[in-house]
Symmetry: C2
Subunit: 347 residues, 2 copies
């Protein structure tokens, strides 16, 4: 039987707060009965919702706070106003203090990033957390990082991303030697920025515990050619958003095509099982959950607009990560890499 | 009746060369009877293909060369080997010499970029050409630039992109004051790189002949919220490739869903008209053609793997651009911008 795992929930985060988060926790509990929950937020809102989920209520407690970070608050403002008191901070604090294994929030990404850094602190040799996202592929999923926590990245930082992403891939895909690709604009070695080229040279020449596959291009992410895709956060965030937008765009083409005449509506009616499966497959809620890596603890970021299924997927991701030795492995791999790079730079 | 327009074709470029390019020219000629063509390449290959298209043959001449740039050649190598002699160079040279209005090539992007710069030369105040792509949206199309000719871009260069993209939008969308957005990672002003923030401040404060709409995110490109999307080339290329990959990925989901049982196959059979229309809409050939802007002439880059319809779309794009006063307008707008920025920097 799996060990008990405690999830700290920022119950006020996201567009709909506890109305989504409470039923999402109930759904995750059914799949993972070893879970229990701490809900941080407005007790007057959370308690009545919990009362509607008997089994969940038995495995949950509420820690009341009036302070919730809003979706539009600037990170600096959020930290000033909500440090030590907000539901977001308290959820992270529970992880820091060892009361919970994982914190999950659907709140303001910038604020969560800033608070994660302040509260959980980055691991040795890493100066800022990195945001990794699960990305659906034609086979299953891959991990893309960074998707927006850092703008720009040095070669050393890109090499860090490769190892942190690999540690996460081990935890969630259960592969011992994850394959890693470096996102670039053309596979010829002539192209791309200096940082990317230098990181490529290091990763190629190293005996790191990853299966480094070299450069990949944007159209290969969804083909699932590697487990981990490494890119600096500006291009990574734009790629993630562009993929979401394109999937939505194609979805609207499909709807328009299948409703334009009575014949196409009839065809769509007959194929409705297949189309429902397709809709499910394209559902962004199916894969939801970014994770801050490079910090002393597990903090999962759900989409702000996630529905019950989506937020529940983020909890499940946190659970899977807590089941692994991610943090230990990340630390030892990064220490080994930094030792090698320091030596290279000394030579 | 429209004025006659001469298209210079690099007949050896792309994966299939004249076998695709000759019938593509024939297709464009039907739509635009004022066109005529110069085919640069291997006469022994081109002449027999032209013989199969009587009307096209009457409006075409062949300029023979043995030298063709390969798809994998490094730009520096391509220039050394093919300057002044290759089919790619000769097509650009025809534009430079006023023998043709437009050059179209499906060849090696890096080589075409280098040769465009060398042969056509950049306009005053611009140091490198920029590659602009047509991007399908739910409404129609938008222009995204840069999609890979430059890695990184200063604020000044991003402002240049905005004006060059707007000049192209006037030519191909026939709008007098194109709307322009700056691609960024979050609409809050706190995010993004310094160059992007500075360009934003300039574009917002200026009285340029564009409708500047501020920051947009990756998922808004396909929503068609603006006519022109400005981004530096590394992120722009990754976004373009990622969108192509995602559309392909969703296409494979659709195929799998609609063939998985006899019921879904029956539904798909009945809705086949709608599904064919959908396929057409998602067809990357429908919108094909990048354009190098900021140079003294019109040079269109087709996808290397474009089919007849795709290459023909690239010719049509070149034709539309040649019909407009793009080059004159681009020059006067850039001169006005540079005057303003120089004054700002002097103050």
């Amino acid at each position: 039987m799996p060990a008990p795992r405690v999830i700290a929930l920022d119950a006020m985060g996201g567009d709909t707060g506890p109305r989504t988060i409470v039923p999402a926790a109930a759904a995750s509990l059914i799949r993972h009965p070893s879970l229990s929950f701490i809900f941080f937020g407005d007790e007057a809102l959370i308690a009545p919702l919990l009362a509607g989920h008997k089994s969940l209520a038995k495995k949950s407690r509420i820690v009341h706070t009036d302070i919730a970070i809003t979706m539009n608050e600037k990170p600096s403002e959020a930290v000033r106003r909500g440090r030590k008191t907000s539901s977001m901070w308290l959820a992270l604090k529970a992880v820091k203090d060892g009361e919970a294994h994982v914190a999950v929030s659907a709140g303001n990404t910038g604020a969560l990033m800033a608070m994660t850094k302040l509260c959980l602190k980055t691991v040795s040799g890493i100066d800022r957390p990195v945001l990794a996202a699960l990305w659906p592929t034609i086979h299953s999923e891959c991990i893309v990082l960074d998707v927006g926590a850092n703008v720009g990245a040095s070669a050393r930082r890109l090499a860090d991303f490769a190892l942190m992403g690999a540690a996460m891939a081990r935890a969630v895909f259960h592969v011992e030697t994850p394959s890693v690709g470096l996102l670039n604009i053309g596979v010829e070695e002539i192209k791309g920025v200096d940082e990317v080229k230098q990181a490529h040279a290091w990763l190629k020449g190293s005996d790191l515990p990853i299966d480094y596959r070299g450069f990949i291009e944007g159209d290969q992410i969804g083909q699932g050619v590697v487990d981990v895709v490494v890119v600096e956060g500006f291009a990574g965030n734009i790629a993630l958003k562009t993929a979401e937008g394109t999937a939505k765009q194609v979805g609207s083409y499909i709807r328009a095509a299948l409703t334009r005449s009575w014949v196409s509506r009839l065809g769509a009616f007959i194929a409705q099982g297949a189309l429902r499966a397709l809709k499910l497959q394209m559902d962004p809620a199916r894969v939801n959950g970014g994770t801050f890596l490079g910090v002393n603890g597990i903090a999962v970021k759900s989409h702000g607009g996630a529905d019950v299924k989506g937020f529940s997927a983020a909890i499940d991701l946190g659970y899977e990560m807590s089941e692994s030795n991610l943090l230990v492995r990340q630390k030892s791999d990064l220490d080994a890499l930094h030792g090698k790079l320091d030596k290279l730079e000394d030579d």
